[in-house]
Symmetry: D2
Subunit: 346 residues, 4 copies
């Protein structure tokens, strides 16, 4: 089969690899129908994640058709259409039993990272019964690729951890795909105001279309002042960090109101300053989370009932064999006005 | 009447002041029976809280007898024995309605800070109906002084925010009065292991007597290693910070297990480093809180039913008129093996 | 002034009464701008609530202008436009401190029941600071009458107690004003399916317009079968009872899925059969609640931000002086296709 | 091997049966070390559960040694000492993912009911990875038999669902083994008062020893009056039903205070009257639950740390081969003063 292979910093290729096979009785092999590229894949290409070794097939999102299952897989059979979760979960360790699949003792986020991933014609999925989800006939499968990672990430790490409530004023810092996923899913809980903060006017315009009630361009360094003005100096009930840098984290802690919630989604490479000299008495919560994908069934129901339109996040389409070109487009997201790209295995 | 007056950094005196009177219909004047000194009072004396002005009567804890009430006070009458809460709450602002009395728009922590306090023969209590609690006849009033501040602080900021559960392994950093209050009240939820961390062996011995299952002297800088060893490298489910310094906060973030809770009680004067480069994916919560005293009725029930013995926290007794001497003893807490001192208005 | 007076079963009159005055320092007198009639008022007229005495002014909903306040009222002053809550709360008893205003020791639902109510030109509101809510200039005051009772009732007793979640399948039994209020506010939490059950096709048509995804006419006694069919024999996650009869309560317990929530809103006059022989092992919760109006500020924010349009519930308009005629219309709600009527004090 | 076989109403025998074998790759065969008899087994013997067929091996509790595991079992291996959970869970269906193991689509309570159980020398355990728990060397294995069913049942259905809090006044109706398990585990949350209600003075004496603060003998039909008197007419915050009859359920609804929780544990054979005419406005919750055993790991930690002494529940010991005699003793529990009997496979 063909696959996108990582060969070290800035080196990748679309090349021939052996088709994966069942290793354990709990595995499934899935033929990819649609996959996509994640910001994390770009980080890997830059060498930010040295645990990824030369020869690794990247990708942790996608939908496909089950090709083969191990002998103890009972929820799926050959021919089933499935969503592939970015998180693999065994369903039987201490963490899985608590719904913390991200820390599964025999899984977690490993696809396209510690084991071969979905940017290929076929992929092996460990613990298939707990890591795949059925797609009913007639579904829009392209839209469902958004359920692999980006929607549960925005929802669990941002919206649920931020405890968004009806009538709340919330801010989301970062209008990239994950920030926009938080924006879409925050509306499940009917906040009164959603302030979107980013440095790119195009992304802010998209945010407006997706439901933001206010947008703030932070490139002048005055995001805090602007948010305080918009909130009549009260600050926000929930601040969702969807960037992963000290500057954006500090915006969160500067605009949070007493009793508020800062929900971090961003992947951070360095420590940040936490202003406990003011925060200690503000009765706030700060949360961190690697997505557990425990809400995938809930999100799926909202898609099936048209309460959520994931398709809005898709801006570009390629054949899977054009993946190098797709990486190029996605790598220049601002210029290309790209959110999520869909790669189709034809 | 006589009162302890603040006259600027390191200057205080026990001197004559006018007896307080009813200013508003919601006020009460309370004759002090017992009061105490808080670590915060020492901070004020050092000049750490410049908002406290020359001439202020210090003190925010105590029990007393109602001397006089304003015309709209309905819960209390002259002669009632009462606990004075360190937090004044109006009961009708946005924050009070949410149980966040600490941020009351016409109250919060103001006693012995923005208005005259309890280290005096009499004190005026604003919003008396919401800021005092009845003491039934026959109660041990000395023990109930601990309900003014220290027990709700340890319980709300540490134990409740830390979400201590049966079977948990928890650590409390700082075995001063507030850390010990967290230790006592954490046992309401039956954790399996309670690791107490401090630099003073005497306080650690007290902690052992109060229910700590393990103690760690952190003066060698090896607290993290020791806790990881005690927890078989798993870390703790809950880490309660009861000191208010960067070093102790970092211990918390170094020993917290995935999915755990860091509950800050300590008053911080500076920012701390938050190691988001490791914490971002650990699914933790960090909380801050100025005590709301919303649990005072619950704590009172646990004292009345002998589930909590606050008296254990009291190490020294003085007459109220000996308050200068009491400050001296409490100011050398380690040497004097002092936890809480009781001052009696005889 | 003029007021609607209860004179025993089926006897009422619009007659002259003395204008109310301040009795306690915490009272306000409010000039009524708009009021309405509640199903409960009809129950009173039928004699179902014998605690209501001859001479009582009915009514517990409305908006108005503050005419006068007692000396300890601090949140409101003469001239303020206000929503009158159907529940009076002192803000300082054990129940108010827990947010259970319905059981306030010096309040609860007393307006137009134990004390004179809002179907009059003026009304005295006890504990005004905790029982009134500010209306900003430029608001649609007519719509805000729905915040006095009906919207918090549907939301608190039905939606919050029912724990409605994104993706849920819910059923609401009873499409009267309160059931429709539950329907509108349930959408704050984005359920996938909302099945509305009633015996009146007109009300079901209204429900469809208000967001119900399915409607079931239960007049043939086959509601349970129809709901089970609609849910592929799974039943519903949440069943909200908005009628108050044994038959409708039993529908709830027959259609609830394992792990589901039955939230009762209806006022019951008799006991109901609870089928514990099947329910004991179904892991369900059943809740009851007299509205606390603790969510009024939250609901107000959703109205101000256009997430909720209470005006949809209003079908008829009268002058306050035409209240006898309005009672007649509301008393024949099905025939008149009446939901809520607005009475304006001109 | 030898096993206790059900042969229809009141007929059982200790007879030879084939030793179980691995049917599925997820099975384990466990050699029983210790087992016990449950009240449910007596119900089966009386014919109350007609789904149990002639030839069935009874029993759903026990500890043992793993004899053999299927090829996809990864948490356990031959020789491991294990607790057998009364509930079998696949770990991969919709219900297991929500922690509602009791409703597992390929499990739930099936042991000794739909499939052969633990009152035998060997038992086959389906979905072994999710249905067994490790016992560390040196543990008191006899005590751990109480973790199979009775302790999670009392804790989950009674204490957790009842939301017992520090300072609460709670009542437990029924001082049989499950009611006593609720009594022991309710103390994890430090209620102020625990009122135990039963008709047997011996069991009430045991309850007193186990931590009840008050006991009420209900044989005179005056339980409600007595509880109201003990609570100064306030009623209880939590009422735990551990019998399963209408009369005891009604005691719960008569003694519950406004805002309280009724948690049903009892297995009911008939419907009960629910007094909605008074309860509708009392802001209460009623819960039902078939034990999920999701708290077994938490309970295990409390046993290991000596916060819970399950051994107190054991009153009688027999050899497994004496099981007919043990049934006789347990069947006359009141006369024999029996709580739990331990059967040892020697």
């Amino acid at each position: 089969m063909k696959a996108l292979i990582y060969h070290g910093i800035d080196k990748k290729d679309w090349e021939e690899k052996p088709k994966p096979t069942i290793n354990k009785t709990t595995d499934a092999v899935v033929k990819i129908l649609k996959t996509t590229i994640c910001g994390t894949d770009l980080h890997i290409m830059k060498g930010d994640m040295p645990a990824v070794t030369d020869g690794r097939i990247l990708g942790h999102e996608g939908v496909g058709i089950v090709e083969e299952v191990g002998s103890s897989v009972s929820n799926f059979k050959k021919g089933d259409h499935v969503i592939i979760s970015c998180v693999t979960s065994c369903g039987k360790c201490e963490y899985c039993k608590k719904g913390m699949y991200s820390h599964c003792e025999d899984g977690g986020w490993i696809l396209g990272y510690m084991i071969d991933g979905t940017q290929a014609e076929y992929v092996r999925i460990p613990h298939a019964d707990n890591s795949l989800y059925h797609i009913p006939a007639g579904s829009d499968e392209e839209a469902l690729v958004m359920l692999s990672d980006i929607l549960p990430t925005g929802f669990e790490c941002g919206v649920l951890n931020g405890q968004v409530k009806p009538g709340d004023t919330i801010a989301i810092i970062g209008a990239g795909p994950v920030g926009l996923a938080a924006l879409l899913t925050s509306q499940f809980y009917t906040p009164a105001e959603i302030i979107m903060i980013d440095m790119d006017d195009n992304r802010l315009a998209v945010a407006k279309k997706f439901g933001a009630t206010q947008t703030v361009n932070s490139s002048d360094g005055k995001a805090v002042e602007k948010v305080m003005k918009l909130t009549h100096n009260r600050g926000v009930d929930v601040a969702i960090e969807a960037v992963g840098m000290e500057a954006t984290f500090e915006i969160c802690s500067d605009i949070i109101t007493a009793g508020g919630h800062i929900a971090n989604i961003g992947v951070h490479g360095k420590s940040v300053a936490l202003h406990m000299e003011t925060l200690w008495s503000k009765n706030i919560t700060i949360t961190t989370r690697l997505v557990d994908t425990v809400t995938t069934p809930m999100l799926f129901k909202t898609v099936q009932s048209n309460k959520l339109q994931p398709k809005q996040l898709i801006t570009h389409h390629f054949k899977l064999s054009q993946i190098i070109e797709a990486y190029d487009t996605f790598g220049h997201a601002a210029k290309e006005k790209a959110l999520k790209v869909i790669l189709t295995n034809e």
